[in-house]
Amino acid sequence: MPAHTVHCVGMRRLFALWRRHPFLSSAFVLGALLTAMFIARSVMFTIYWSDPAHRFQEIEPWMPARYVAYSWGLTPEELAAALELDAPPRRGRTMGEISARTGVPLAVLAERIRAAAQGREDGGR
């Protein structure tokens, strides 16, 4: 049997299957597409986040200050010094709250944290 005949028979059988089970076969195709999309996205994000340029995540208002300090390799005391606070922030205090209390924009606070982390790294070398 020539190759193109096999191909046609295969196509016809697939079409017949789809006509007999329209719901099931559509669901199957949709499932396969979704699976492929999730796999592609997993690979994409893995590549993106493996890039050293994306090593540090942005500082967001919802992040607690102690968590930010931990992420950037600072102690709560070092963070307080960098942000010019009198005492280390209490547990659960967010960056957004500190920004509102001190009146310093979050971007400025984030820059100070970045500088402090950089200074610590340089000092350690």
Binding site: L17, F28, F38, R41, S42, F45, W49, P64, Y70
Partner: protein, 199 residues
């Protein structure tokens, strides 16, 4: 919505996690996985206690599973009335029941964490298919322990890379769940084809 919820984690911590894991077991669209990762990460920073985060998430999930199972149990009568007059639907239902009884235990266990997006539906189905309560409860608790341990643990371990872990894990988990559904649909289609065309 996720950002707004994340802002509530430092404030309501464990209680919020309990509510969210509970709702996620009933197929409500709440980002339970992300919140557990976040809870673990905040515990690493010392903002929350690791024990209360894990305990609350586990308690919410176990209670949510029970609620889902109960809904399935009470819904059984309604499903029976809907299918009684339709032989094809009835046959499908019987298959689903036989499948659940056979794979009930491991199915419940793995749908807690490995293919967790399917978890809520397995809860409803387990109740409706009369998977024994004890069997369901034990496998569900074991599975939830793995789910909570995995997500809170990863959040704790990769605290400074929260966004990366959440994005990669979310998609891997989606791929696993969608992949399993696709394979099951494929097997079912193949079986149907063979039945209809004995060669």
């Amino acid at each position: 919505m996720t950002d707004a919820l994340l802002a509530l984690v430092p404030q309501y911590g464990a209680a919020l996690l309990m509510v969210v894991t509970f709702l996620s077991c009933l197929a409500l669209p709440v980002p339970a996985s992300i919140l557990m990762l976040t809870g673990g990460a905040f515990a690493a920073g010392g903002d929350l206690s690791l024990l209360s985060v894990s305990g609350a998430a586990f308690a919410g999930a176990v209670a949510g599973d029970q609620a889902g199972y109960a809904i399935g149990r009470f819904g059984e009568g309604w499903i029976d009335r809907q299918t009684r007059a339709h032989p094809r639907r009835l046959a499908l239902l019987e298959r689903a029941r036989a499948f659940s009884r056979r794979w009930g235990g491991p199915g419940v266990f793995f749908s807690r964490w490995l293919v967790s997006p399917l978890g809520p539906y397995v809860n409803f189905l387990s109740g409706a298919a009369d998977v024994g309560w004890r069997r369901f409860a034990l496998w569900a608790m074991a599975g939830e322990a793995v789910w909570v341990g995995l997500y809170v643990g990863l959040g704790y371990g990769f605290a400074s890379r929260l966004e990366a872990v959440a994005e990669i894990l979310g998609n891997v988990s989606g791929a696993l769940a969608a992949g399993l559904v696709t394979v099951l649909l494929g097997l079912f289609l193949r079986k149907r084809m063979r039945e209809e065309r004995p060669e």
